[in-house]
């Protein structure tokens, strides 16, 4: 019933393309759903708005960028962790910011991992692969509570 899908929240087209290309290399591209900003991310999770008809099930990991229009990554993170439904969802910040405040706050909010996007693409790809492999294949999740 639950498909192993990842949620990728990324506003930048190029970044998106690169990330998907990297994931493609490891045959993980098909398992990725994309939200273009924070609002969409939440819509996806709550199965509403444009994602109202999406197949049910929660993603096994949320790859979250920080700097996004409308609702930024931190907000999304906060809401996810605040909601008992999604609290358990592994969230990985996938961002180019290594600023200390960002790091600190995200961990405070309960982020599961914080990965800085390397400028070097090869490293970038490797990072994506590692994240995807870990969260997609290796990590165990508890049985998600029933969706309303």
């Amino acid at each position: 019933m639950t498909l192993k899908r990842m949620l990728l929240v990324e506003d930048n087209d190029r970044d998106l393309e690169l990330t998907l290309a990297a994931l493609e290399e490891f045959h993980l591209a098909n398992a990725v759903d994309v939200a273009r900003d924070g609002v969409e991310a939440l819509d996806y999770l709550y199965v509403r708005g444009q994602f109202a008809d999406r197949p049910p099930g929660q993603p096994i990991v949320v790859l979250l960028d920080i700097k996004m229009p409308r609702l930024n990554g931190r907000e999304v993170l906060r809401r996810i962790k605040a909601d008992p439904q999604f609290k358990h969802l592994p969230v990985v910040m996938f961002t180019s910011s290594r600023e200390e405040p960002d790091l600190a706050e995200c961990y405070l909010l309960g982020v599961n991992a914080y990965v800085v996007k390397p400028v070097d693409f090869l490293q970038f790809a490797a990072a994506v692969k590692q994240v995807g492999a870990f969260w997609g294949l290796l990590n165990e999740l508890p049985s998600p509570p029933e969706l309303p």
Binding site: N12, R14, D15, E17, L18, A21, I66, K67, T95, S96, S97, R98, E99, E100, P101, K117, P118, V119, D120, F121, L122, F124, A125
Partner: protein, 745 residues
Amino acid sequence: MSAPPPAERREAWGFLLVFVFLAAGIALGGLRYFQHRQADARSSAHTELETIADLKIQQIVNWRKERLTDANLILGNPSLALEALNILDQPESARTMQMFTGWLDLLLQGSPFERALLLDDKLNLRLVYPEGASRALTEDARRSAEEALRTQQLVVTDLHGSENGRQVYLDFVVPLVVRRVGTNDNALAAGLDPSRADRSAGVLVLKLNAHDFLFPLVQTWPTASSTAETLLVRREGQEVLYLNELRHQPGTAMNLRRPLSGARLPAAMGLRGEKVLGEGVDYRGVRVVAAVRPVPDTPWVMVAKVDEAELYAPLRREALAVGTVILALLLASALAVTLLWRQHNERFLQAQLAVEREQRATAERAELTLREAEARIRKMLVMAPVPMCHLNRDGMLAFRNERFVQVFGYTVEDVPTLAEWWQLAFPDPQYRQWAIERWDEAVRHAAAGERDIAAVDYKVTCNNGDERMVEISGIMLGEELLVTFIDVTERKLAQETMRKFNGELELRVRQRTAELEASMKELDAFAYSVSHDLRAPLRHVSGFAELLRASAGPRLPDQSRHYLEEITGSATQMGRLIDDLLRFSRMGRTELRQERLELAGLVEESIQQLGSEINGRNILWKKNPLPAVQADPALLRQVLVNLLANAIKYTRPRDPAMIEIGCASGNGQETVIFVRDNGVGFDMQYGDKLFGVFQRLHAEEEFEGTGVGLANVRRIIARHGGRTWAEGKVNEGATFYFSLPSHQP
């Protein structure tokens, strides 16, 4: 000389008392002794008197016995009786007379009897022997003769006075009896019964003059004495008759009489049969010591006495002498003591006088000095450079100095009391009210024991209208106040200016701080932007270039592939630059945490962090002992990492590479650490450029790097208050130094 002080007087009385007691004691003692001596004398005198009396009595008894013997001899001689008879028968016969007289011669020759009188049996005087002697015969004698005739016994009369009263006789009346019985003369002598018809021839009265022996015997005294005597007395009725001539009174023999009842008369007491204890009062009324003894065979009593006065005379003399001496001594000592005491007193008083005089002199001197001092002080007060005034308890300004008048312009007439002061100096009623309250409060506090009147600033209006800020304070002296005025107008102004200035300064500081904070925040935001926004396009460039290479790479000509590599490389380089810049800017903004760090441990951590660089390299590490320092751990690690990374990098051509870390001897103020390597070194000419941002002394192709590392090091060390410098020689390695101030832990 004034009276001695009470203490001295008491002393004197004390001495006197002691003296009196002493004298009394001595007197009493002496008296007792004297009395004792008297008693002794008395008793010994008594004994002596007794002895004398006994002696005399013995003599009297002996004498009487002798006379009796004499008389008895006559009595026992029959011849005399016969001759007496012859005389009776032949009275005119001269021859018989002669015979008798011859017999009398024989018997009486040398005997003490004064005369003898022959009486016939009719008691007529027939013969006087010796011839020519007095023929007087007292009545007593006649009576005795009669008795003798009758009894034919010897009769001894008692002492009696003569016819003319001047002589005292003791008669021995011897009866002359012719015994008819036998011729035994012894029988006659034995005194046979006259009833055997013996024939009495008569009596022979032998007269013994008491004055011849008896009285002298009685009257002589064996020892030299002025008052002692012995006397004989006999009782006659209720009277005591003194028999002999008394020493102290003439014409007393057989004459003087005293009443028998005389209580203390020794003679009377003796005759009464009382025991005489020794003392008495004699016939003269003089106190005597007497020994009384009865004379045996007689009615007489012998009294041996001596005047007490005579007895005690030597004692009295002695006592007097001793007494006088003692008295003299006491007086002398008393006198001496008095004299000494007087002297002592005088000296004492004189000393006192001297002291008083000196004291007075000192007092006068002191007063003078005081007055001078007073005048000086007064002058000082008057001339004091600070306005002062003296408020007495009535609120009168009892004194104000010249400066007061000068500064405020108010004279004595202007401000006689506090009231005028309030009026003139504080024209504004409200302000005056406030001033009065503050002043009263301050004075109250001072009165409560603090003494100092708290200083308060008042705005005082001077006589000429000027307003001056004056600090008014003072002290309480009992109920009066000394008030000082200090003009603080300038000071107040200065204070105000200062305050305003400070205020402005603070404002400016706050503004600047705000500006600084704002700019910091801007910088933060900027850095944040940069880190995010700048990197993204870089990533894209890098990413797509890679994708391109991956997808079309094999089909591309070498040149094109090379161009792609360059694109990727540049993008990566830019990324590194951005990272370094960001780190560098962060360095300046973060807070410095000062901790005590063990450098050795930090070095190990840094080497570990550079593990990837060290991999596969042959590096010889020389780690010298390193001290502890005070620094921010993260930042200092950054410094070490940078320096070590550089050392590792620039020793790449070396095998083995030698990297040394140690502590150089600095002065006591700072700790100097160095990192030395045997790498490619550098040209000292450009040494100062080393630490500049983005400054590099080597081409990128030789050694990668952005040139920010050392700039970072310098910035961090500078923030710690230390210095950075380097030494090097081309191809002979380099040494990089940094110093940290050594804080005493």
